[in-house]
């Protein structure tokens, strides 16, 4: 049977639309950026108008995606299952899919850099999850695993306010981008080709981002044959009502114990002169202090104290008014504000050792060659072939 002809206009149109949505641009804005009339963008996106190489480079620059984003399939045959799971999730909307596209290309570039530099970090985390049958199993397993992993990562009892950096240094690919007006807080992916990858929506408050990262970290470490999971506001709501599956309860238990170890809470409260015998002294001020100390949301801190029996579920009411204030909070980062720090470092290292060109460096950093030249000069990076 003859091989099916690859339909470039259609494929390119879909990619361009996806990248445009990810940046939050309308067709008019994109038309201005690339110097084409608005109807042309509409025709290109629907695959009715072909584009030439020069226009493609213009789209690549305007949409801050490498050429490979537009030209290559996002995943290879045989590696597609985790990606399919992600795309098929009911929690991923059309708008969110464009973020997933962007995330996948970045993860691919990240993996390429690791391979180029001889770093074998495809599966950096241990696999520790045990079989769970009850809610209690899930909670205990989550807590035990969190303690063990803190030990492996040498975190002691110190608060982990910037978990993304800790995970990055452990070899996990962490992508933090804003998806405004999305119910998705984050998602994770485990694949043979891409390794462990976590995405967190930076449109949520920083504390929520940290909890999302820890929750997805829990999935990566404990779920057997983990492929892809999505954490949304809806799920978290259901969890509070104990309606979610055990595996999600376990990931939440892990996240809570990882970010707020029991011994660390006791230690922090002891510094305030409090113990389990004086729990009646706990006030909203104390909880605010603890949540700042551990870098978590007020709500997460409250639930952790309830689960550790420092306060009762009934007591929750008297602390709960604080939550109203949190509802309006959003972070301020733009969709493409930053690339992972480790990724940037690997890109510069690959450039320095002459494993990639300046043009490729520009592509990987999602900038044009002019900006790349400026950075190379500013950082005084001389290329020395290995």
């Amino acid at each position: 049977m003859p091989k099916k002809e690859f339909n470039y206009p259609k494929h390119l149109g879909e990619r361009i639309r996806s990248a445009r949505l990810n940046l939050g641009l309308n067709q008019e804005q994109l038309a201005d950026e690339v110097g084409l009339p608005r109807p042309a963008i509409s025709q290109i996106e629907s695959g009715k108008r072909a584009i030439d190489s020069m226009e493609l480079v213009a789209f690549s620059k305007a949409l801050r995606e490498p050429l490979s984003f537009f030209l290559e399939p996002l995943y290879e045959e045989g590696e597609e299952e985790p990606v399919k799971v992600l795309y098929r999730s009911d929690d991923i909307s059309e708008r969110d899919k464009s973020t997933v596209d962007d995330f996948l290309v970045l993860a691919k570039d990240y993996t390429m850099l690791e391979k180029l530099l001889g770093l074998n970090l495809s599966q950096p985390l241990p696999s520790w999850g045990t079989e769970i049958k009850t809610k209690w199993d899930a909670i205990v397993d989550g807590q035990k695993t969190a303690e063990a992993l803190r030990g492996v990562l040498n975190l002691g009892l110190a608060p982990v306010k910037e978990l993304d950096k800790v995970l990055e240094s452990a070899g996990i690919k962490v992508v933090m981008r804003a998806i405004p007006d999305s119910k998705v807080w984050g998602f994770s992916l485990s694949s043979k080709a891409l390794g462990h990858c976590i995405f967190a929506n930076t449109y949520c408050v920083r504390e929520r981002q940290n909890f999302t990262l820890a929750h997805e970290l829990g999935h990566l470490v404990m779920d057997r044959n983990h492929s892809a999971t999505v954490l949304t506001a809806k799920e978290a709501q259901q969890l509070n009502d104990d309606l979610k599956v055990l595996i999600e309860i376990r990931a939440n238990s892990f996240a809570a114990a990882f970010l707020m170890p029991e011994a660390a809470i006791e230690h922090a409260l002891a510094k305030l002169g409090m113990s389990r015998r004086t729990t009646e002294q706990l006030t909203t001020v104390t909880i605010e202090y603890l949540r700042n100390h551990f870098g978590v949301s007020y709500d997460a801190m409250l639930w952790r104290l309830i689960n550790l029996k420092w306060i009762s579920k009934q007591d929750r009411q008297k602390f709960v008014f604080q939550l109203e204030e949190e509802k309006g909070e959003t972070a301020s980062s733009s969709p493409k504000e930053s690339l992972p720090e480790r990724y940037r470092n690997l890109a510069f290292k690959a450039y320095q050792s002459a494993k990639i060109s300046i043009g490729k460096l520009a592509e990987l950093l999602r900038i044009d060659v002019y900006e790349a030249r400026k950075l190379v000069k500013e950082f005084r990076i001389q290329q020395i072939p290995a």
Binding site: Y8, L12, A50, I51, D52, S53, M54, E55, L56, V57, A58, K61, L67, S68, L71, E72, M112, L116, Y351, A354, K355, I356, S357, I358, G359, K360, A362, E363, D368, V369, Y370, R373, K374, V376, K377, R380, I381, Q382, Q383, I384, P385
Partner: protein, 173 residues
Amino acid sequence: MSIAFPSDDIIISDANVLINFLDSGHFELLIKLFQGKLHITDTVRAEIKQHNSELDKAIEEGKVKVHKVPIEQVAHLAKSFENFQAGEASCFVLAKEKGWRIGTDDGAAKVFIRKELGMHYIFTTFDVLLKAVRLGIIKKTEVESVVDEMEKKANFFYGEEDYKKFSSELKKS
């Protein structure tokens, strides 16, 4: 075994060599030196387009020739040359096909060209300046200020060893 040498006077340039001359205000030097035998691909042109209209003028006047790279080939290049940007890769392919030198200062490109085509295919910004001095297009005494302007205006950043070699060649010429 015979070594294939590239054509001496034709160059296919990547974006960086072009930027050095365009942004420093010395593009005319490059034009004079190659006299219509300066080639680029349309992907390289697109890199420059938004920043410089001088290149468009030179193309219109036939002083720079642009080679179209079909989308399908760009896709192929992006996949086959994952360490390079498609514009750079398209230069390698054309150079090999036509037997032209490649204008590049990039370390990764030099490693690749040396291995795949041979060191004679590499033509750097410093090589351009040396050739321009030898042909009397610029004076030896002017070269330092040209390099200085490339550094300041075009963010030209070069290796110390390359500069030493260039200075020594310049003295001899």
